[in-house]
């Protein structure tokens, strides 16, 4: 009886630990959700493993790195990182809102994540990116 209780406790403990690990892993995921209307309507939801983004950035081809726009980005990188860090550490709130009779766009910062939502007659887009991994990616490119 005592042994059974021990086993149950261990299983529960492991399940909790796995849950926490999964939650920590998923919390660094970015999410993009695109839903279009019309005859070719699609609905795609993509999880973006943002922790892999810095790693992926290491594989940017040399040719692409020679592009003038990319060089300009590299010149501005330090400032961009500082600006993103300030955004990440700053208070939460709606940063930009555009409202027209047909379209609605909103950019918000909520708990270290940047959320972008677009509602248009032909599409609905939701994007959520954790700023931490984005900053790390910009730093390593």
């Amino acid at each position: 009886m005592k042994r059974r209780g021990f086993v149950t406790g261990t299983v529960l403990g492991l399940a909790l630990a796995a849950g926490f690990c999964l939650a920590a892993f998923v919390s660094d995921f970015g999410w993009v959700d695109v839903q279009t209307t019309g005859e070719d309507a699609i609905h795609i939801t993509l999880p973006l493993p943002m922790d892999l983004l810095p790693l992926a950035c290491c594989f940017v081809p040399e040719e692409a790195k020679q592009d003038p726009d990319f060089q300009e980005f590299l010149n501005q990188r330090e400032g961009i990182v500082k600006a993103l860090a300030a955004l990440k550490d700053g208070p939460d709130g709606c940063l930009v809102k555009v409202q027209s009779p047909e379209e609605h766009v909103e950019i918000s910062k909520i708990g270290g994540r940047l959320s972008i939502s677009v509602d248009a007659p032909d599409a609905r887009v939701r994007l959520s990116l954790p700023l931490g991994p984005v900053i790390r990616a910009v730093q390593v490119i």
Binding site: E78, A83, A86, G90, C94, L95, K97, S100
Partner: protein, 203 residues
């Protein structure tokens, strides 16, 4: 017992308020274009704006400073200076502005030192313009009389004038302006009404 509980709650609340620290200031921009019924609201923390300004690195705008181009041809501004405190000095002031002919920093410091008064009043068929200093604010009001009939109201706290600096390279320190905004009381800075409604304020 109940009194002790209330006292504890009050002390805890006060301590929480004291530990909360200074609140972040936000710069707000609201634009409404009636022609297409579109509203744009931008609301950014001052700290982020400061960092974003640092991020800009172009020949015209770098290290938080923007290079002003006054032009090489110069020009003339004719206005009526009317100081309430010194009515005898009323008259026409002719200012030739160009690359180095006007010391804007010194001029604005002088404005800050002057008593509340109306400095400029332009009454023409095109517009009615006044520039005042009143109640700790530098006020510019423009009322267009043309087709658009736009009105522009600028209300800058005088403390903001301290942050106005143009160096020998004609570079205006924009970052100093933004930083200074954090120290000043919240309120409207610019309001435009007419063809489009614009409001810029700090809260």
């Amino acid at each position: 017992m109940k009194r002790n509980l209330m006292l504890t709650i009050a002390i805890t609340a006060l301590a929480a308020l004291a530990l909360a620290g200074p609140k972040t200031k936000w710069v707000n921009v609201h634009v409404f274009d009636p022609s297409d019924q579109t509203t744009v609201d931008v609301r950014l923390p001052l700290d982020f704006i400061g960092a974003a300004i640092d991020a800009v690195n172009t020949p015209e705008f770098r290290q938080g400073k923007i290079t002003l181009d006054f032009g090489t041809h110069g020009g003339e501004i004719e206005a009526e200076a009317k100081g309430e405190a010194e009515p005898k000095r009323e008259g026409v002031v002719r200012v030739r502005h160009g690359r180095s002919e006007v010391d804007w920093v010194a001029l604005l410091k002088q404005v800050k030192a002057l008593p509340d008064s109306e400095f400029v009043k332009v009454d023409s068929p095109d517009a009615f313009i006044t520039v005042n200093k009143k109640g700790g604010f530098f006020l510019v009001n423009v009322a267009e009389r043309g087709e658009g009939k736009n009105t522009v109201d600028v209300k800058l706290p005088l403390g903001l004038l301290d942050a106005f600096s143009v160096d020998e390279k004609n570079q205006l320190d924009v970052k100093a302006f933004i930083t200074k905004l954090g120290d000043l009381p919240a309120g409207d800075l610019v309001t435009v009404k007419g063809e489009a409604d614009v409001r810029i304020w700090v809260e």
